[in-house]
């Protein structure tokens, strides 16, 4: 029997040829960006030695670039940027709260334990 109580949201995602062209253009742009960022990271890693005066700055650059890459992957490749705001936050917010908290307690504790040793 055909059910009439299910809305097929899956059909909402269809798009036309012209829209597809625009989307593909964006995909290739993001590809280029991710590749360039990875190349920059590797070059920085290879040329800036750990413990040198630049190292702290480079570490921060690494983290910023990583978050940038992650942002593009999640929002563009995984289409989270195109989903409803409510969905976006129900995915991202719990994650951020837990992971930031975990990082906070773990690294705080690590500093204390490190000082003991």
């Amino acid at each position: 029997m055909e059910r009439d109580d299910v809305i097929e949201y899956s059909l909402d995602t269809h798009h036309s040829e012209e829209e597809g062209k625009k989307i593909r253009k964006k995909i290739w742009f993001v590809t280029l960006l991710l590749t360039v960022v990875t190349a920059v990271e590797v070059l920085l890693g290879a040329f800036v030695k750990q413990g040198s005066s630049m190292w702290t700055t480079v570490k921060i650059i690494f983290i910023v670039l990583t978050l940038l890459k992650a942002g593009y992957i999640v929002l563009t490749f995984m289409h989270l940027g195109d989903e409803k705001k409510a969905l976006k936050w129900i995915i991202l917010l719990p994650y951020f709260i837990f992971i930031v908290y975990l990082m906070f307690i773990a690294f705080n504790e690590a500093t204390a334990v490190g000082a003991e040793m």
């Binding site: 809305i7 269809h14 989307i23 995909i27 190292w55 983290i63 990082m103």
Partner: protein, 358 residues
């Protein structure tokens, strides 16, 4: 992709039920929830790695020193291989998103083309990881040595090629005295010359004082002279300080032990059996035990995700080929497996930064 936000929900209608507040299907929502929990697992692993590293008192291994080998080309390419793996995964993520896009246009041929490319990329990545693991487990040619003052050091430079073993005293399975043991006629048990050399070094069955003047004792009682080229630019990078040698600074190559002193100390340690090659569950040549364990667990857990991703992709690919989703009127299954596949890429981006780069 474009539909979601544009289809606003009528507030009065939403109280009547039947609508999802997120305008997505049940399956896609559940995939997202699964990914959040999986992301927390990986987050936990990386934080645990950070914790261990933070509390570790001493020199933690450096990514660009540890991972600098390429297949067929040898050493001296810091992080290039890992970067290549990252690139493979990014590209396969791109082909996946192109498959999803083709699905949104009901373009079956496009979906087939791009999904196939994604699966091939996945196999490439899993294969690369297998190579990397194998290299990590077998280790470098030099290994890590413990020096006579209690310090320990990894070694940089070019390992002199082992050409053959020249029999001095014949053993149970060896050729006659004066003949050569080469990679062609070496016993199965020893595998190859390099393997036999490493094994003998670990057991303290080498004698001599430098690369070109070594005697090896094999298992079957054979004693042989090792025919080798000399090492080039041998340097000892001290990782743990002893009574005499201080830790070498990563930012200053001058603090490494160099020249003849390095050769002398290195072969003194190797002939005393104080050398470790590669990695296992108890010890590794790269640094503390936990480093090896985190390497195996984090990259292994990720590799397992990639592997299962490839399997799921293949299953969905078969569905696409059989026209299951085309008949259904939408390619949402491709989109869902795509979400998982992108997630695997996402995790690798973080592993790359926090395990290899920093």
């Amino acid at each position: 992709m474009s539909g979601h936000a544009s289809k606003e929900i009528d507030t009065t209608a939403s109280w009547g039920g039947k609508v999802s507040p997120f305008s997505v299907s049940y399956g896609k929502l559940m995939m997202w929830f699964f990914l959040v929990s999986d992301a927390l697992t990986f987050g936990g692993l990386l934080v645990a790695y950070g914790y261990t590293r933070y509390t570790f008192d001493g020199m933690w291994p450096i990514g660009e020193e540890t991972f600098e080998a390429l297949p067929f080309l040898g050493n001296g390419f810091p992080l290039v291989y890992v970067a290549l793996m990252t690139f493979i995964l990014i590209v396969s993520s791109v082909t996946m998103v192109l498959a999803v896009e083709a699905g949104h246009r009901m373009d079956k041929k496009g979906v087939i083309k791009w999904m196939l490319a994604t699966i091939i990329g996945g196999f490439f990545f899993v294969g690369s990881q297998a190579w990397e693991w194998s290299h990590f487990i077998h280790g470098t040619e030099f290994g890590r040595v413990q020096l006579n003052d209690g310090s320990s050091a990894i070694v940089k430079g070019k390992f002199g090629k082992i050409k053959s073993f020249e029999v001095i005293e014949a053993g149970a399975h060896s050729p006659a005295v004066g003949e050569l043991i080469t990679n062609e006629n070496i016993s199965e048990e020893h595998g190859d010359l390099m393997h036999a050399f490493h094994h003998a070094a670990e057991e303290g069955h080498l004698e001599g004082s430098n690369a070109t003047d070594l005697k090896i004792h094999l298992h079957d009682g054979t004693v042989a002279k090792v025919n080798r080229e000399a090492d080039k630019n041998l340097q000892l990078v001290v990782k743990e300080a002893g009574t005499q040698y201080a830790v070498s600074l990563p930012s200053d190559e001058e603090t490494r032990i160099q020249g003849e002193k390095a050769t002398e100390l290195y072969y003194e340690a190797v002939t005393a059996g104080k050398v470790i090659y590669g990695a296992n569950m108890e010890q590794n040549e790269y640094g503390p035990q936990q480093y090896g364990q985190f390497f195996f667990f984090i990259t292994g857990f990720h590799g397992f995700h990639v592997f299962s991703g490839v399997v799921i992709n293949i299953l969905i690919f078969i569905g696409v080929l059989r026209g299951v989703y085309h008949k259904r009127g939408h390619y949402e299954m491709v989109e869902k497996t795509g979400l998982y596949w992108h997630f695997v890429d996402l995790v690798w981006v973080f592993v790359f930064t926090f395990f290899y780069l920093i």
